[in-house]
């Protein structure tokens, strides 16, 4: 029994996915080093940070799409490389930042691919019910016969998210799921992600809008300077400090609205110096 097993992945509040001594990057270039992370069931966690701080790379590594430079990632107590891919696909769903679809799949066909990991395991009735629910939730029912190549950016983004949700995984790793969405659909998606978390799933989202992230998520994983700080969303002082550290911009905090850039007021002329861009390899 490993330590992770004892923690009990199935217990509500147990860690569905965790990482120990994790260093990630490309070849010799280390983006983030020596992270210890845990994402428990029932929690929504926002990953935020500047461009190039390693948000996407971290998500890729957690999803098993790229190997860690050092350290381990464990899903339900079992190290990632030991998972057979088809089995992992029933537990972990990953939404990439960009999907370029050039072939005319209909929305329904495209979303139904999310059910592939479950084929021959579930009654087809369950497949149909899941599909129905997901298409409703993401407001795609009317578009189900539309060709993917004819969708607008926001519609395509919703279809991609719908495919991941149709997979019905216990762990959701989502890279900018709100990109291209209008305000109404942003709120709708946030709500349904919150619902998924309350149902005992682990939700990890990369977001750029700190206000939305604060409303949706229980916790922030703030990336910067090759490391990460994990803070509770409602711990105003800690969150302010972490965001200031990561973005090199002064932040305020309001218990009603969350983190506020410059405390809500734009800085006066000459009051604030733009920080240097992060070093790139």
């Amino acid at each position: 029994m490993t330590k992770a097993d004892v923690k009990g992945a199935n217990r509500v509040g147990g860690h569905l996915i965790e990482a120990h001594g994790l260093s990630i990057g490309y070849g010799k270039h280390v983006v983030l080093r020596d992270l210890d992370l845990a994402f428990p069931a029932g929690e929504c966690c926002a990953i935020v940070g500047r461009n190039g701080s390693g948000k996407t790379t971290l998500l890729h590594t957690l999803a098993g799409l790229r190997p860690a430079l050092q350290g381990t990632v464990a899903v339900q107590g079992r190290r990632l490389p030991e998972w057979p891919r088809p089995e992992l696909a029933r537990i972990l769903g990953f939404l990439p930042q960009h999907l370029r679809i050039v072939f005319p799949f209909t929305v329904e066909e495209f979303v139904a691919f999310g059910r592939l990991p479950w084929r021959r395991r579930t009654e087809s009735g369950e497949d149909a019910a899941t599909m129905q629910r997901v298409l409703q939730e993401l407001d795609l029912a009317e578009l189900r016969q539309r060709s993917f190549t004819q969708l607008s950016g926001g519609e395509a983004q919703r279809a991609c998210l719908a495919q991941v949700l149709a997979q019905d995984p216990r762990i959701l790793l989502l890279d900018e799921p709100l990109a291209h969405l209008d305000l109404l659909h942003q709120l709708r998606v946030m709500r349904l992600l919150e619902r998924r978390a309350r149902q005992g799933r682990a939700v990890v989202v990369v977001l750029h809008d700190l206000g939305l992230a604060w409303r949706l998520c229980d916790r922030f994983l703030v990336l910067g300077d090759g490391g990460a700080r994990s803070v509770a969303s409602r711990d105003g002082a800690a969150l302010r400090a972490a965001l200031q550290w990561a973005y090199a911009v002064p932040f305020g905090y309001s218990p009603e609205a969350g983190p506020l850039l410059f405390g809500g007021q734009p800085p006066a002329e000459g009051e604030w110096e733009e920080p240097a861009a992060p070093e790139r390899p």
């Binding site: 890729h60 999907l99 799949f105 592939l116």
Partner: protein, 341 residues
């Protein structure tokens, strides 16, 4: 916005009917016209020792079968490669496989005319050249895990490279022997024999079965490697397998009939327009329509300017270029400005 697609069953029936009609037309037309009744009598074994039997069975049947096999093979490998490259403009020749075949055959004709004169040596050299080019693309693209860009770039590099080598063969070689090679290079069914048909047919079975059995995998690969992996598909192994199958099919087709472009581009496009993108339907219908298309093209190439025979590759090239141009001009202005390779 929602264009209604015809029912899939209708497309299947129409494709089979078209292929049968094309084959009948191919067997019936030529310098000597043979009626459909006579064709039926010959195929049923009711004609003995007649000229009609000779023309249909010895001259035209191998040719029609060969065109059908090559058309099906090229259309299928086109469909598979477009999906693997996630690029609807890709087709077997994007990989430079035909260039490899052309290079080895022209080299044989230029520098070993005695060897070239032996029966089957040209198709064999064509197949080896196709395998060589396919292997090279494979090895080069492997460095980048068969990424989209890597495959296209390697294919372009090899196409240019082999194209230059072919020109060198022509420059240094003997023009007399190269006359027939020129014809082969342009795509030609006039030299097929029952043996070449049999070899092509048997060789196509394994990759055909593999590709048809991978319809679902291809569906998922079409939406991107990250999602495919996330849905439990072993992406690298699947890509490798399907790429090898497509290269083998292309190699067999080029060895049989020379360089016939655009079938692998045109047919899968038409099929996706008719039945959508699901490979469960795209693959079998592409094979049927590819076969029909090339049988029709070869028949027209034979009879249009009879007794002069056009190289069928030139014929499909012109049709394909027209289609390509129409496809290009129908895109909204600036659509590709921001699109990545």
């Amino acid at each position: 916005m929602n264009r209604r697609r015809p029912r899939v069953a209708v497309v299947y029936i129409a494709s089979v009917a078209l292929l049968l009609l094309a084959c009948l037309a191919g067997l019936g037309s030529g310098a000597v016209a043979v009626s459909w009744r006579d064709i039926a009598r010959v195929l049923a074994g009711l004609e003995h020792g007649t000229t009609v039997r000779l023309i249909v069975l010895q001259l035209r049947l191998p040719r029609v079968c060969s065109a059908a096999l090559v058309g099906a093979g090229l259309a299928l490998s086109g469909a598979v490669l477009q999906t693997l490259l996630r690029n609807p403009l890709a087709e077997p020749f994007t990989l430079g496989v035909s260039g490899g075949a052309g290079f080895l055959v022209t080299a044989l004709a230029a520098f070993a005319p005695a060897l070239y004169a032996l029966p089957y040596s040209a198709p064999l050299a064509g197949f080896l050249g196709a395998a060589l080019a396919g292997g090279l693309v494979f090895a080069l693209a492997h460095r980048q895990h068969f990424s989209n860009t890597a495959l296209i770039l390697c294919g372009v590099i090899l196409s240019f490279f082999f194209g230059s080598l072919i020109m060198l063969n022509f420059a240094f070689g003997r023009p007399a022997a190269l006359q027939s090679v020129m014809v082969w290079l342009m795509g030609d069914f006039s030299v097929v024999t029952p043996t070449t048909v049999l070899v092509t047919g048997l060789g196509l079975i394994a990759p055909l079965v593999l590709v048809l059995a991978s319809a679902q995998t291809l569906d998922v690969l079409a939406i991107g490697d990250e999602r495919a992996l996330g849905l439990g598909v072993p992406v690298r192994a699947a890509r490798r397998r399907l790429f090898a199958a497509a290269a083998l099919m292309t190699g067999l087709c080029v060895a049989n009939a020379g360089v016939i472009g655009f079938v692998g581009f045109l047919v899968p496009h038409l099929v996706r327009f008719l039945v959508g993108a699901r490979h469960r339907h795209v693959l079998p219908i592409a094979a049927l329509l590819g076969a029909a298309f090339l049988v029709i093209a070869d028949t027209l190439a034979r009879v249009l300017f009879s007794p002069l025979e056009l190289p069928v590759g030139a014929f499909t090239g012109i049709t394909g270029a027209a289609f390509f141009l129409a496809y290009y001009l129908r895109r909204p202005r600036g659509e590709w400005d921001t699109e990545a390779l």
